[in-house]
Amino acid sequence: MTDARTLQAGAATTTPDVVSRTWLKAGLAHVSTILVPVSLGLWAYGVRHAKAGRLGPFGLPAVLPVVFYVGVALLIISIGFELAQSKLRPWRLALHAVALVVMLYGTAPLVYPAGRYSWLYKTIGVVQYVNAHGQLNRFIDIYQNWPGFFALTAWFDKVAGVSSPLVYAKWSQLVVELAALPLLYLCYGALRLPERQRWVAMLLYSGSNWIAQDYFSPQALGTLLSLGIAAITLRWLYAGNLAGTPFGNLRRLRRRPRPTESPDEAEPEHKRMNAVKSFLTFWRPGRTHREFAPFSAVVLLIFFVLTFTHELSPYLLIVQFGLLAVLGFVRPRWLPVAFAAIAVAYLVPRFAFVNSHYGVLKSIGAFFSNATPPSFNSGTQPLSQRVIQYSADLLSAFVWGLALLGAWLRRRSGRTVVTLLVLTFAPFFVLGLVAYGNEGLLRVYLFSLPWAAALAAAVLAPVPATDVGKGPRWKAMRRLAAPVLGTGRRVQALAVPLALGIAVALFFPAFFGDDYFNRMPMGQVSAITTFLTVAQPGPIYTPVANSAPMADTARYSQFPEHDIFGPFGVLGRKHVTLDVAKELAADANTLVGAHRAAYVLITSGMLHYIRSYGLAPPHDVSTLLKSMRRSHLWRRVRVHQPGVQLYELPPIANALPARQ
């Protein structure tokens, strides 16, 4: 029989049809060799020809040339081809993952000369403060209370020989996302996800991390530390699926064969013996806890560093691993208790400051109010903002939806699926405790994403047909599933690029859409930085907070920022008249007295921001500009930079409004 089959096979290989099929197969295996360099070339060409100077309400995606998107699309198609290979090629997949991250997170630093986001400049200011003073002042702001990241980057600047993080800060997103890839791979490996699912999950993570918490900030470092903690815990301190471990084999050994089980489905004798041997080699009483103690110690040490690096990340980890410990999946079970003890011990001396500034006690229990995203606080939004917001919402819903579907498909994978579900959805519990400046939901998404992507991968790269349930009960199901799942790789070849394409298509508006006001022109950065380096200390009035590259010097704490418009603005809900300049001068006088300077700073980015979020009527903004131009109290400071208007209230004039 065997000889006959061999002969038939030999005969078959000689037909031209099979020869061409073999050539086709060999050709398809090398598609990525051509597609990756072509896609990178097109992407690079697109980046070079992006019209960053013409940004509009739809941000960067609207000014990128078509070739840019063709390049990204080709890479996604190449990923599909690579994942459709019968034998995965890790180096090629790693190249694809790196290329995707470079395309998504390397575009902004190449297109813009200065880092995006006004709040990035505040973190730069804290780093400068640490290097200038060599110590911290806990009473300045929350950053100085959780200073791990700032200490590290201040050290980095001195060793790297740079005068300010402005030199490299814009590259942070690319570096952090690249560094996250191997850590994600470790986490997925620790959970024993099939190889194909690990790669799909990593790619999906990179393609849907739209919330941009990876900029030069404590939470970016916190993400890397958290992923490291998760990887070590899941690998060494996790009592996950016992199948495959010596303990699991022992349990399998003890299982009695079911009455319906046919002899060929029963455990072969040599496997049973191997299970006994491996258990006896591995297990000795009292050995396990001692052996894994160094891993517990390392995890606790990294957690301690995380505790003074970022204020929220430790609590998200406590909730995630606390729930796993309750379910008995994390050993030792006291590990999350130790996490909590470290976090609370660090928080207690700082609690008064945090509570007075952020109202922690008020937000406890207010789940729905805490879960409100930041954009919901603003007024009427234009179409562009709604599109950007819907893209972000859709992308989050898409990932979480796929995760739920994946959990359903993996429902028989025991502890692995429970663990992934807990890690994905446990961060929502934190919303019951803190609002985190209405950014809680964004942090929940960040901490949920690695695990949601892992569950989603189960939908996009399902396990082979042979793994569809075991035992006689599943025999019929296996027979039914075989023709479908037999073509699984072909289905995946479409499913993965399609899902990744959807994610990346939504990622672009969600991640780059706000660049209309998030982009900081280099000239404005230089002008404002130079001014803040030499100006007399005093409050700075800005139309809205967080929309200009302010506070990036060591003196940042000497220039407190005050909003003019918006819910917390100086004007409140008052009607704006041409006397607004005088009102601001009076407010400055009340605030700092007669002998200190005060400033009004208006940039083009601020005006874009107000327009995009509808924070003030256009008439109010134009009245402010007119009032400032006509005012005799405020002196216009020459900045020589288009898009920047800076006014100074000199110390002597500062006293005038009060006298009047």
Binding site: W155, G161, L186, G228, S278, F282, F304
Partner: protein, 131 residues
Amino acid sequence: MLDLIAALNTVALVALVHSGRDGIPRILLTLGFAMFVPGRAIVTNWPRMSRWSEAAVTVTLSLAVLTLAAMISLWAHLWHPVGMFYGAAALCLAGLIVGEVRRRWPTKPPVESPSPPAGSAAGAHGAEADD
């Protein structure tokens, strides 16, 4: 190989810092040091960790160790970043050399680590080298 890369990165960075030369190479070497070298010096002396992850876990360990060292020097009002770097570089080089020596001339036969049971799925507790 990874140990050699870590050692070369450290030596090159020490030379650049000592000579006072600024520029992109120094920034990149500092990034390489901050994200790789201290962790590698730990992992190379920790066979079980090393068999599991040669490179990936070193990122977290490096960042954690350097952040802790920087914070301790801030809390202790002993802020000398360059001095701290020289100290860290010396310790890392020592760790890397000790790791290399231990591997080349083991003092005792390596303890047999739990091997993956026959027929088990990859990545079980005994499986090694995930990256």
